[in-house]
Symmetry: C2
Subunit: 754 residues, 2 copies
């Protein structure tokens, strides 16, 4: 655990800059607007250790898979989010000396991410030989003009005389740290000194993945007025200069307005023109006016989704940081995009779509955003069905296999033990349809596009199981469950359970589905009978004596010992142990059996839940960012309130406190929903199955009060919990029956029920 | 199955050149001399599809491992045998036209590998517009001067007038097909027109693997006399020209003498001088004289190792081809080298050391070569103990883990499911010590260096097992057995059995071991007691009802069906099925349980052998080149003679008939011992455990006679089998008792026992 920013309800702030924490600082101060995002790199440059990172939603490159011995069905490439041309650069030279906080003397360093508005500010006093200059930066990515980045630097000369040179540039000569051989993914097309643009294209690939062309345009303002400096170009670079000599007491303010266009929206030939239009629109307003409009969007988001905690500022900061970072990654504006595990904050996993979306993001977005935002996430999968069919075909299987990692529906991770073993994700895609339908009550998706997805997934499972003559059961061999600390296991209880659930749910939905869609799918009675047989005769490993479900066939044969027996200096084990040792250990990365119990919560008795929790949680090292929240929710349900709160803290401040020692790579965006789920589903006990919204709240020790808001079936509800009572208020929408601690309460607008 | 060379007892010959079979032809006509080797590429070049391949023993490059998500214990690089600078090139231009059999008209094509002497000959009549020229090539790699390659081309003008230009070159601008990104492994150092040399060095690597420097030198002879043509150089290339105009009836003969020196033997600065010395030595004799000396070496090899078969020419050709190719790969001259699965015939697996050596090569070499040749293979492993200790440490384990693939003792394959799961090879290394000791009766190795290897391996196994409280047994989880069509299984019977065997054998050898060596190893009584406990309480999965050992814990849960149910057009399954489908199928690539029964043959009853054979063989697709021989031997023991012969044919002619449709990549060198083993251990029933050489022969249907020779404890024996009788003759050495069909016969020199 490492905390480098101070605790504050709305600000992420630090007055220190430690070179060894630079990457961590960059991850935590990343900002985004759904269209693009970037790490907290410094505008003036920084010569110390850092991870340069700017990312554009949906812009990626397929990097060749390299293995020892190729086998059929291996994914041909590893899809990588690519570090995009850098647009923040504003090199500063003071009296001939290039400002570089890795080398220079400075005072009063301050760095602040304001969660109200996704605004990053930074200031420091540069101390030169005979001069002191305070530089203050502000930057944000507009929520109004998604293609716009606004960056401002103010220089106040505090002592002596300062000749300040500023060199603002766009730079396409960027690389990825994770490229296989240091290769560049971008090729320059042009630099235009008149238009102040560079245009770059991703290098060719042999996989038929489209190449992306981007155009970046910049213009400067000096003290608020348009400014034209000397423009220079080099391959893939354009830069513009400003220079002046200021005396003590004098100030200057320079703004850099940037427009970033990609061929996802605008064909290459029209990018110059489109960028000019947007730049005109952007520059028609001042920095302050643009910021005000941008902040207003945040205001409306917060008013529908803020979670307030009194009595625990660290917890308060954690949940707000998570909500802000989630919304900076995805707020449903572009159905072609999804929620990448690292969003726009790093290369690893960045930007690609994982099962995280369905398992962790959907249940929160259903409540904090309008239904169409979540439906967009469902539609994304439906629209990628051709890719999912392709993935199944690659394995010689029927139906559709949604990818473990993707940008376009085609599996794009390059490790076989992930791509065709971790197939449980295929059930999560179906489960999201159930969640959406159960929460919103809207059956229009499941009866049309949704049933196409369900049938495709069911056909996959029906072909992927095999019948064991030896045990007279259907089995699923050769999988990796949610616990990625085991590979290639047989009969992972979670996978078997969810596969059977998908078949059962699909069978249940078919009678309600759109007739024409069903005609197209041509599901025969015979096929349905076979699915039913699988549901009835699926093998679910369990140990009756222990009263638990078995993570897989031979789990009990392991050398079982609690995670608490692992020495602290060997944690996290994935950074200290060999993969061999981890795979053979009994230690669990994230909820596996318990993930199934979490999803299908209404199927199990409290006793079953408790026995499984008590067996598996002590074996769990929670080294996946997705782990703590599910355990927190189950602990809450089982009345293990201290454990629930402990695990909440871990999920809420995973990145702020760098729990898993890997936030340097980027934020754990998709698991950030965990803190919200832990509060709402855990502490407040919210459930919504069987068409009934329910709450069963408790309040953590030390908290005096917490409250949150929910969108539910056209209504906005506010839930407010203190030690004494729970208040549920219907802020807008039609009357509603809600179950509170087992009692039905009838809510009308303006009513407050406690 | 595809046969492109005609059947002949001593020749591999073809009169056809089909472009689609070029790679297959190149593999089968590869030649080598233990020091280097090359594929059957054409001297004059060939513009059609081909695999250019020249390889130098022990010269390799560590190519970076690229995976999605790095984990501790992964091997950092993939060791690759690298395509060496090409030295055969002799471009031919006739009347201004470059000769290229992929494009030209030609007649009377002939290509012959003479197994007597490892001589490759080729001739064809080039048909130009107004001319016909017969070109005849011969080449061999000297068994006398290992660094020498001798190439000869004769041109006979048959019709018209021919202006012939010859351009003989050394070319360092070569690549590997399997390089990750088409990168070059060689960098040029110099080209010297006076010395007729090029010098190249392998590119730098960050893994501390030494760079290899090679120097190649060429000189021409014209009609047997030294010839100096125009020499030109380019980066990494030197070439020398000859040109003349010949009339019909005229001939010319040009020889190219090549010396290849590597920094494995000669430091770079001394390579020019050493090459000059060797060239002088080489050129002191004519091509014919050099060939005669070279052939004499082959003569003495064949006299001690030839297998004669009457009644089945295809079988005869198969075994001779295999013996010749094995000896061209390794004949024990350099203890730093080993027997690569593809020898010098291809890139894949090429040149690296696998467990094939201990499991398949050692048992044959013991009998066909002098004991020191096999002992060299054992010594190779001992000398690589530091690397093996390193490999175990990488996994957080004690003792030594011999690598699955290596050049220097350090694991150099890049797939985790191979490198730290296929650990059974660690037992094979120990088993080779047992085999050597049991066959030769020489205990000097096992009591000194051998015990160091045994203890190191035992310590590995003792740390790699775990104790299952649930089953009260020691277990081994997370392995891949010899059947590579399953990964990451628990309690692979073969692995558990061999691990326990190693501990038991080590315990048995310790009392006899050298006192000083044992002092150094510091094996405590406590440690030995723990090993004994593992031996006594190891878990061996079995099914009592079926009377079989289980390949692993859950093998019987698979969808069991015989391999005969696989449609012919889906064979081999590794070329038609996804890896997922293969892993989950019941189909076995090569002997697994049966490998253990083969190794520890004296431990099992005939009934046990038969039940296991009858269960597993029908599930086996024999898609490893190592599979058929073991099954053939067991089938022979069980009296299933037809099956034994069928499987013999498959192993003996695996490459000649391209059974597995992959000989295009190179020959299956290490599995070539299989045909010898099938005849000697299978048909002739040879065993040597318990200090007793035994035979129990039968003769395959259709064969009239077969005979082979054995080196055994300082003696040379000849075994001759006909349908009527078996003759065992002691050709040299002291008297000996041999068991023949259960009867002890006493042999003295010159005696023939039938």
């Amino acid at each position: 655990m490492k905390r480098i920013f101070s605790v504050d309800p709305w600000l992420i702030q630090s007055h220190e800059l430690k070179p060894e924490d630079k990457r961590l600082q960059e991850s935590i101060t990343a900002i985004g607007n759904g269209y693009m995002g970037l790490r907290g790199n410094f505008e003036e440059g920084y010569s110390g250790d850092k991870l340069q990172g700017t990312y554009l939603g949906g812009v990626w490159f397929p990097d060749k898979t390299v293995v020892g011995w190729w086998k059929n069905g291996y994914p041909k490439y590893f899809g990588k989010v690519i570090n995009a041309p850098s647009f923040i650069d504003m090199k500063l030279v003071v009296n001939g000396h290039k400002v570089d906080l890795a080398q220079d003397s400075y005072q009063n360093f301050s760095l602040t991410l304001d969660l109200h508005q996704g605004l990053l500010s930074r200031s420091f006093i540069y101390v030169g030989n005979d001069t002191k200059v305070r530089f203050t930066f502000r930057r944000f990515l507009s929520n109004v003009i998604k293609e716009a980045a606004l960056i401002e630097v103010k220089a106040d000369v505090l002592a002596g005389q300062a000749t300040i040179k500023l060199d603002a540039s766009l730079d396409g000569n960027v690389t990825n740290e994770d490229s296989n051989y240091g290769d560049r993914f971008w090729q320059p097309i042009s630099e235009d000194g008149n238009e102040h643009t560079i245009q770059m294209v991703t290098k060719p690939n042999p996989y038929g993945v489209p190449r992306f062309t981007v155009l970046l345009k910049q213009h400067l303002r000096l003290n608020g007025a348009a400014y034209n400096g000397d423009v220079k170009t080099a391959t893939g670079i354009i830069s513009e200069n400003w220079e002046d000599t200021l005396q003590a007491g004098q100030s200057v303010r320079i703004e850099k307005d940037v427009i970033v266009i990609t061929s996802r929206d605008v064909v290459p030939d029209e990018q110059v023109e489109r960028a000019a239009e947007l730049m005109y629109e952007l520059q028609a307003k001042s920095f302050t006016e643009n910021l005000t409009e941008h902040t207003a969007v945040w205001g409306s988001r917060w008013s529908a989704s803020d979670v307030v905690i009194d009595g625990d500022e660290a917890a308060q900061q954690g949940i707000r940081f998570n909500i802000a970072q989630l919304f900076m990654t995805y707020h449903g504006e572009d159905e072609r995009l999804n929620v990448g595990p690292k969003g726009f904050t790093g290369e690893k996993y960045g930007g690609a779509t994982y099962w995280d979306t369905e398992a962790y993001v959907v249940p929160m977005y259903l409540a904090v955003a309008q239904p169409q935002v979540t439906r967009g996430l469902l539609q994304y999968r439906h629209d990628q069905l051709p890719g999912a069919y392709h993935n199944a075909r690659q394995q010689g299987l029927k139906g559709a296999l949604f990818p473990m990692v993707t940008f376009n529906g085609i599996e794009c991770h390059n490790e076989w033990e992930i791509t065709f073993e971790e197939i449980h994700r295929n059930a999560a895609v179906a489960f999201a349809i159930y969640q959406y339908t159960a929460y919103t009550g809207d059956e229009s998706y499941v009866n049309h596009d949704g049933i196409e997805v369900l049938v495709a997934i069911s056909r996959f499972w029906a072909d992927r199981v095999h019948y064991s003559q030896h045990q007279h059961k259907y089995m699923i061999h050769g999988v990796t469950g949610p616990n990625e600390y085991e590979n290639n296991v047989n009969n992972n209880w979670y996978t078997n359970t969810m596969a059977a659930w998908v078949l059962q749910y699909t069978l249940a939905r078919i009678p309600h589905a759109d007739h024409d869609v069903m005609q197209g799918l041509a599901v025969t009675d015979e096929e349905q009978a076979y699915w039913r047989d699988i549901v009835d005769n699926m093998y679910f490993p369990e140990d009756k004596k222990l009263g638990i479900f078995l993570q897989n066939d031979t789990f009990l044969d392991k050398e079982l010992r609690p995670a608490s027996s692992i020495p602290e200096d060997e944690r996290p084990i994935n950074q200290h142990w060999s993969w061999d040792r981890i795979l053979r250990s009994p230690f669990i990365k994230q909820a596996d059996v318990l993930q199934g119990i979490y999803f299908l919560n209404d199927r199990f008795t409290l006793d079953q839940k408790e026995r499984n929790y008590d067996f598996y949680e002590p074996l769990t090292v929670h080294e996946s960012s997705l782990s703590a929240s599910v355990h927190s929710i189950l602990a809450a349900e089982l009345g293990k309130q201290d454990k629930a709160v402990e695990l909440y803290a871990r999920t809420a401040r995973l990145d702020l406190d760098n729990y898993n020692n890997d936030t340097t790579d980027g934020l754990h965006i998709t698991s950030m929903t965990g803190s919200w789920l832990a509060i709402v589903q855990g502490f407040a006990g919210m459930r919504y199955d069987h068409n009934q919204l329910r709450f069963k709240p408790f309040i953590p020790h030390g908290w005096t009060h917490y409250s949150f808001k929910l969108n539910y079936r056209g209504r906005l509800l506010a839930v407010d919990v203190t030690a004494e009572k729970t208040q549920v208020e219907l802020l807008s929408g039609d009357e509603l029956d809600v179950e509170l601690n087992g009692q039905i309460v009838h809510l009308e607008r303006g009513d407050v029920h406690a």
